[in-house]
Amino acid sequence: MSNTINQSNVTSSSKPTSNYSTKKKIFESVKFILLLLGAIVMLYPVMWMLSSSFKTVDKIFTEVGLWPSEITFNNYLQGWEGISGFTFSTFYLNSFIVVGLSILGNIIACSMAAYAFARLDFTFKKILFAVMLASMMVPIHVLLIPQYILFNNLNWINTYLPLVVPKFLATDAFFIFLMVQFIRGIPRELDNAARVDGCGPVQIFTRIIFPLMTPALVTTAIFTFIWTWNDFFSQFIYLSNPEKWTVTLALRGFLDTMGESMWGDMFAMSILSLIPIFVFFIAFQKLLIEGISTTGIK
């Protein structure tokens, strides 16, 4: 890809090539250094958390420097012990269940709805699209009680169902809209070609659109992972017993505004809780980046 740019610059530039390429090299280096500096700003908080996680509690708030004067692993050992007799193994497993099901739900349900909005024609389409957008505009706090009553009647309180089932019903309209925008970026000729080959709407969706919207699906997976992992409001409302708690709830459990908090444990476990998200992001960003240009639009 960088070749392309190179070529284009060379052809458009009237200056001698050698002069140009030194300039370009300087430009690239400056860019690189700036990016590196930016990276430090981005990473500072993690460094700070990392350093705090190795400090004893009394040092966390008194020592300003990033390098702990005395290193302790106790926060990790003690933090992993968890809360109310449940260790972080339980909380991780719970988080993975919630996150995994949420990703699956969002990918299936949102892509179906998005396909209908982007490509199919049906009655009340515009109104329904507006309803979809409007459903994102009301703060969850005022929808909470009716939803809670519903889930309570279904006997779903203190299970993962109130957190997961809505994803299979495409309630995250954010992703529907995202996918709609992506599908509308896919040339219609492809649909038409498939239709000529005898594909119906269902086949067009499964064989053309779904594979071609990989970047949007990967984005959905990444965001669902992070947002579900970090979401604490619905989790603390619906999950009551520590055995059902997720990592995020357990992290909140370490802190108490009315008394002494377990800061060291909290930082240590916060660092650990970043690892799955980070690994997931690294693994999936490859798919995101390679996206359409290699999945064979040509």
Partner: protein, 295 residues
Amino acid sequence: MISRFWHKNKIPLLFLSPWLIGVTILAFIPMIASLYLAFTNYNMLQAPTWVGLENFNTMLNSDSRFFQSLKVTFIYVFLGVPLQLIVAFSLATVLNRGVKGLSFFRAIYYVPSILGPSVAIAVLWRQLFGMEGIFNDFVSIFGLEPQSWISDPSTSLYTLIVLLVWQFGSPMVIFLAGLKQIPSDLYEAAAIDGAGPAYMLFKITLPLITPIIFFNLVMQIIGAFQAFTPAYIIGGGTGGTLDSTLFYTLYLYIKAFTQFEMGYASAMAWFLLVIIATFTGLLFLTARKWVHYQD
């Protein structure tokens, strides 16, 4: 008649059915319930009582905190969102290609967004922008007096805007995904025709990515109007000093769960819906002029 309706909508309904069920049960019905509650006095512990327009009346005529929360939210939305999107778009184009260690940088620049609105970030932000924070070391280079940026009412909101801009990862990833969707042969063809980078940016990248810019703009605005967690977590559940970080949704939350006025909170929610819908509607109207779809 019915059979024609059925014939036309059979396939779309198949695709829409999960969403239709979800939106009806989990959004539409609760929204109607909250619309009813907006006209009642409802403390959550007892049955609601009908009060007509009283909530709206109080809200618009005698609640100074309500207007404060509107002001805070508008600044946050109209300053924070454009800044965040500009940063996200610039970095997405830079990180799209042509730099050494691309995937490394992409991952690093996404880290702040992974951290999310966690308790750790709340502590960190207080450390950064507090009296003893390193931000004061930084501004002292320019000869500024140290101060508590996070609790001074004239600056505290801006520390939250910095947080929003700093967590630009989500729109950046969406931009990246959008950039990837642009077929590379367009660039190749332009290169053969001798086009420069500026031409490619303005004539290929920008027009083709307008649906994604539009998406990010709409979603970030909808999201920022409802911003809650940053202020909730960093302000410890209050609106900060002199209500300087009293976001609209935070005030709504305080009304509902601290003051036990869910009826009033519902009224606020519907007022917010109207505001957001207006801005979103305007964006959709202008979209015809500048958003280009492939279909």
